[in-house]
Symmetry: C2
Subunit: 146 residues, 2 copies
């Protein structure tokens, strides 16, 4: 009951997600390898996609097919999300943070071993969840930079 309303709940195995999105299973894995999506992983290492994941992947699909932004372009754009402001990490956290410095890869593609992110699940982090499309990123920038 509750689960059906919560778009964050991992529901669909990769084959179903692929069918919903009308792309191949391998393309879905490729997007993951590139760091565009972080699907839920079962203990067996099998993937599960939530409705939110599907929505995110639809945005990625539009970015690639309609807006003609390359995968590396999308990664670069994601790397501009002001994660440091969103999670309010300390200046010490930022000091050695690869994500903070990176201008080519999104923060959730790094393993954070010695900062606040070490204990957080990127999949559940609002840095990841809230900025799946360019529109939302620009709006975020506008709201933060007055």
């Amino acid at each position: 009951m509750e689960n059906l309303d919560n778009i964050e709940v991992p529901l669909f195995p990769i084959s179903v997600a692929a069918r919903i999105l009308d792309i191949s299973v391998h393309t879905l894995r490729m997007y993951e390898r590139e760091g565009l999506v972080v699907p839920f992983k079962k203990k067996s290492n099998h993937r599960l996609y939530s409705k939110a994941d599907i929505e995110r992947l639809n945005c990625i699909r539009r970015a690639i097919n309609e807006s003609k932004i390359s995968i590396n372009g999308i990664k670069t754009i994601y790397s501009l999300i002001p994660c440091w402001d969103i999670i309010k990490c300390s200046s010490k956290d930022r000091e050695n943070c690869e994500a903070y410095k990176s201008h080519s890869n999104p923060c959730w593609t790094f393993k954070h071993s010695d900062n606040i992110c070490a204990t957080n699940e990127c999949r559940d982090c609002s840095v990841y969840k809230d900025y799946g499309e360019c529109k939302s990123l620009k709006e975020k920038l506008i709201s933060v930079i007055k």
Copy 2:
């Protein structure tokens, strides 16, 4: 004398710029049509490129060839430059500003008829001049979003 030190001075006709960059004249015009560069235009409509333009084009070239970011990706990234903060335009200026709303084209690709930018030459604006590469944009964001 002075001119030789000033990297902003329009010096090279398109053929020379193309030779320096090792690309075709047409590719240079294409980058301009896409809104990646704004070369100086003589009254006769002929283009002149400054050393700063060459430097900028080198960055664009690296973004395309090495970082594998598509032209539309670069345009989208440019659209995220916080121009409103850089030039400190008024909230009224922002209201009807296409650039402020756009998340696919850089501000300098719009004709601004009724705001502060109407009287400014984009080519000479620091929004355009200072953020020719992704690194500088992320650093700008970091400096503005504490």
